[in-house]
Amino acid sequence: MATMTTALESMGKQAVATAGAADFAEVAGLYRPQIFRFLLASLRDPDAAETLTQDCLLKAHRNWASFRGESSVMTWLLRIAINLQKDHWRSRRLQFWKTTSNNSVDAADAGAWLPSGESSPEQQVVAKDQVRLVWKAVKGLSERQRTVFMLRHVEEMEIHEIAGTIGLSEGTVKAHLSRAMGRVRAELGGRR
């Protein structure tokens, strides 16, 4: 997975190098799965994740001409996605009476997804339980801790990349990550 991310990133850098001439459709096709995955993991709502992914790419398309390549395309797109996600949570808080629009999947159900690997049924059960516990811990994290945790452990980004994406110092990112990991560790039965 790390290899795939690195490959995507290198392709992103190539895209940055030729930002002026690059076809946005190609960039969107390249990064759409990653943006969708990040939003799905953050929101646990496939419909909302799909909508926000579209919004993110639309916003990126509108500002594509002004993208100067100071950061990688992925970092830039994730920054847009994070801002959209924040707006989404804010509007959800304001529209607390709109229960019908809440399609988020329960953490226990989200943990049921596992790739059909070669592992034994026992291992699958253990893995499902572990995933369920991690989801439970993630549910209790603050918005920022969750974002940092997802970028680090789902998107496998480096600390400096996360700091650049969220606009925080590396120290603050490490602090958020440490608190998040403490919760996950505690949920899995270990010490904080």
Binding site: L40, V131, V184, L188, G190
Partner: protein
């Protein structure tokens, strides 16, 4: 090896085991999200129409748009004018009421003055004019008194 060293070693082994467990859990978590995401990416979705879509579609119609704009302009101008007119009418009514109250307050004094004048006038009339039948008596009384 001392008992303390043993404890330390056991703790280290336990920590290692927990770290391995954490790494495995995080790896499974990542795989789980990737699998879920891939599945959701290819799933067909039905697009729900937002409840306000119909309203905006109607507003987007040029004829309806112009009609709504006209209503907005008419109400934007008409309402302040109507309010202003209403305010003027109320002010005029209030002024008339105040004037009427002043007139009513002044009326009893004037009436009292008129009554006194009338009574004096009546007294003097009664005193001066004598009915014809009583004239001889009146003259006799006048003579008697003069004498």
């Amino acid at each position: 090896m001392s008992h303390q060293d043993n404890n330390q070693e056991i703790r280290e082994i336990e920590d290692e085991r927990l770290d391995e467990q954490l790494d495995a859990a995080l790896k499974n978590f990542r795989y789980s999200i990737h699998a879920w995401s891939e599945q959701e990416m290819v799933r067909a979705r039905t697009v729900r129409r937002a409840p306000l879509d119909g309203f905006w579609r109607v507003v987007a119609n040029p004829v309806m748009g112009w009609a709504l704009a006209a209503v907005l302009v008419a109400s934007g101008v008409g309402v302040p004018v109507a309010i202003n007119h209403q305010r003027q009418v109320v002010q005029a009514q209030r002024a008339a009421a105040v004037e009427q109250q002043k007139m009513l307050a002044a009326a009893p004094a004037e009436l009292a003055v008129d009554d006194e004048d009338l009574l004096k006038h009546v007294d003097s009339d009664i005193a001066q004019s004598t009915p014809d039948a009583m004239e001889p008596l009146a003259s006799m009384m006048g003579d008697g008194t003069s004498k």
